[in-house]
Amino acid sequence: MNKLYPDAAAALDGLLRDGMTICAGGFGLCGIPERLIDAIQAAGTKDLTIASNNAGIDNEGLGKLLRSRQVKKMISSYVGENKEFERQYLSGELEVEFCPQGTLAERCRAGGAGIPGFYTKTGVGTQVAEGKEVKVFDGEEYILERGIRADLSIIKGWKADESGNLIFRKTARNFNQPMATAGRVCVAEVEEVVPVGSLDPDCIHLPGIYVKRMIVGAPYAKKIEFRTTRERVSA
């Protein structure tokens, strides 16, 4: 079975429909599935619910789908650095479910692992706990959080072999790992596809069972939000 598709549009063919739920990897602009986001924008799929830690920044990453009004609801932990997101949220055009970052990661991990809910201390006594079951374990309060299952996961990896076994690079792994497991179908874009046997089986981050379709998205521009450096002190 060939998992490698010629481009993002081909890889998403038959998977997109209005009103669907998508889990998207990435943290800020680091490790975002930008080719797949572009293809969803081009397809014009509407009323999307997207679980993603951030929503990109203005007109970058998922910010593009906000700009084109394709998103009905975001499930996110952080929306700073994105004026259009803030504007649509404050004006009521965009529904936002604020979810603590670790709870979001675990909701997707759990969903992908067949766990429909779990208890966590995160958010106890805050707005996040409103309407949620509270249970006491060993004298401490926990709230029930639901696992997330999505129709589609879109992720960005570094290298994959032809069978879909995939590795990430540095902090570009972030949410790509849990998001990959939460979708009924996961489409991955990578920088390079290599022959089976060329990646060490002990060093695979995401087993190929999770990756149903993939594309090579290179070359990537890889934008940086805050370029911080230090001076080289000359001897």
């Binding site: 800020g28 490790g31 650095e81 670790g102 997707c108 201390k121 805050t126 972030n174 981050h205 450096t229």
Partner: protein, 213 residues
């Protein structure tokens, strides 16, 4: 004279211990990294999936795939390790991180903290702050003692939506340090910035606390 941002960070850094795994928030807390005592091994965690944060990179070593939770470019150390967000928060929620230093808009006398939104005005989201205050062993807040308008930030109770309930162990401001031994005890004023008086602190604080100078 009140402490400046770096001096506040240096004061918080005095709470570090050899072997600690530490998560630093954005802003003044980040400066704690510059104040790790020589000879002490402290491993910094970045909640986007890294243990062993190195210094900012040299200009020609900037890597877009290597950032901290504030989305700044950083570098790695020989002992650095990367992981996914689910693993990152498993170590936070699971109580494996020894200490976190966070900023705050408000802290209350009962240890409540608010630092993620101002209704109708500012909405950034909680990011990983709710997970950190729920899971990390010791929570230090570093913040200016009063707001830009001069209003107290260490209060009887928080007016803003909470990030966590009864979670703060220590508050370091530009004027003073407050600490409590456990989450049932009141905060104690344990230290003043040079030249700052206990009366001045009292005048700028609405939280109840004991004085233990």
């Amino acid at each position: 004279m009140a402490w400046d941002r770096n001096q506040m960070a240096a004061r918080a850094a005095k709470e570090l211990r050899d072997g600690y795994y530490v998560n630093l928030g954005i802003g003044i807390p980040t400066l704690v990294a510059n104040n790790i005592p020589a000879g002490m091994t402290v491993t910094l965690q970045s909640e986007n999936g890294m243990l062993g944060i190195g210094p900012f990179p040299y200009d020609d070593e900037v890597d877009p795939d290597l950032i901290n939770a504030g989305k700044q470019t950083i570098s790695e150390l020989p002992q650095s390790v990367y992981f996914g967000s689910e693993q990152s928060f498993a170590m936070i929620r699971g109580g494996h991180i020894d200490l976190t230093v966070l900023g705050a808009m408000e802290v209350a006398e009962n240890g409540d903290i608010a630092n993620w939104m101002i209704p109708g005005k500012m909405i950034k989201g909680m990011g990983g702050a709710m997970d950190l205050v729920a899971g990390v062993k010791k929570i230090i807040v570093v913040m200016e003692h009063t707001s830009k308008n001069g209003d107290p930030k260490f209060l009887k109770s928080c007016s803003l939506p909470l990030t966590g309930k009864n979670v703060v162990d220590m508050v370091v401001t530009d004027l003073a340090v407050f600490q409590r031994p456990d989450h049932e005890s009141p905060f104690r004023l344990i230290e003043l910035a040079p030249g700052v008086t206990a009366d001045e602190v009292a005048a700028k604080t609405t939280a109840a606390y004991e004085v233990a100078l």
